[in-house]
């Protein structure tokens, strides 16, 4: 597996050579610093821990500062571990977009979706609601309806879809195509949409 950490910049559109106008997302990807190299001998598995972005030293615990001091002076904003990274890198190296991604690659992107707050079942679970304002209905147009039977089973089953927090959870979108790589500004153009708001951190894996 290979991947990098990035920041969602925004969306735009792009004409392909066969004449289709594609919606695409711009992601600033890397450069990432190798903050830890895990090997089978020492850790039982092989992985690279990468850091992205920057944070002020006063906002970071001493433990994290100590850990990051081994790889350089920069205090990374986000640390992510990638199992079985296919590129050989050592501690303190930087990895840029063009090291990992080429145009036409198929990637998966994960991030935190936009938070919607506490939402009802119509928005959160695509329930239909009542769809009727008359015929005996009042004040229940967006209600969930029945949530179970009667004295048997005499309880509401776990996992019943109800109102609650919507969005702001980890979402992964698979099979997205890389349309273009712009190494001069560490940018990646990905076909389609990517979870999260502008400026949110996303993880791009190949």
């Amino acid at each position: 597996m290979q991947g990098l950490i990035g920041k969602k910049i925004g969306m735009t559109s792009l004409f392909t050579e066969d004449g289709r106008n594609l919606a695409c997302t711009v992601v600033q990807t890397g450069p990432c610093v190798v903050t830890q190299v895990k090997t089978i001998e020492t850790d039982g598995y092989s992985a690279l821990q990468l850091g992205f972005g920057e944070r002020k030293a006063k906002n970071v615990s001493n433990q994290l500062k100590g850990h990051l001091s081994k790889s350089g002076d920069v205090i990374s904003q986000k640390l992510v571990e990638f199992r079985d990274f296919e590129i050989e890198k050592s501690l303190g190296d930087t990895i840029t977009v063009d090291d990992v991604f080429q145009a036409e690659d198929i990637v998966k992107v994960s991030g935190f979706s936009k938070g919607k707050g506490f939402q009802g079942v119509v928005k959160r679970h695509n329930f239909a609601g009542v769809n009727d304002a008359t015929h005996g209905q009042h004040n229940r147009q967006r209600s969930p309806g029945s949530i179970g039977a009667a004295s048997y089973p005499a309880k509401v089953f776990k996992g019943m879809r109800m109102a609650g927090q919507d969005g702001n959870r980890k979402v992964t979108t698979k099979n997205l195509k890389v349309l273009r790589v712009m190494p001069e500004n560490n940018l990646l153009l990905i076909k389609g949409t990517v979870p999260g708001h502008k400026g949110s951190i996303v993880i791009i894996e190949k």
């Binding site: 910049i9 925004g10 735009t12 559109s13 004409f15 004449g19 940018l187 153009l189 400026g199």
Partner: protein, 118 residues
């Protein structure tokens, strides 16, 4: 982030240099059509109803009456298939979106010409 978006839009732009036209203008859009391996140019003549969007995703809507039926077509400003755009007539209109033309037919659907002093 805004700088980066600007940079990307410059990179993916086709670089069409269209004349400065406005809603109400009568224009001819020459559009390249690829038909199998042949390519021909089709003209679409009509009034510009609106220009919408910003940056690279700007589009404009052209409306014409074809055989008594209103036809509207939306063109992306950044389309590589626009080979030419000619302004035939400048219109004198008082709004940016000329949706009212959709409900008008015949003489009522005319747009006054904007005359500039020489």
């Amino acid at each position: 982030m805004a700088d980066l978006m600007k940079y990307v839009e410059e990179q993916v732009s086709v670089g069409n240099e269209l004349p400065d036209f406005k809603p109400g203008d009568n224009v001819v859009v020459s559009y390249r059509i690829i038909d199998g391996d042949k390519e021909r140019i089709q003209d679409f003549r009509g009034d510009v109803l609106q220009i919408s969007g910003s940056g690279i995703s700007r589009t404009f809507t052209v409306r014409k009456i074809s055989n008594g039926v209103g036809v509207e077509r939306i063109f992306p400003m950044n389309s590589p298939y626009i080979s030419d755009l000619q302004i035939l007539r400048r219109g004198k209109v008082r709004r940016a979106r000329l949706y009212y033309l959709r409900e008008r037919v015949g003489k009522k659907a005319r747009i006054k010409e904007k005359r500039t002093l020489r």
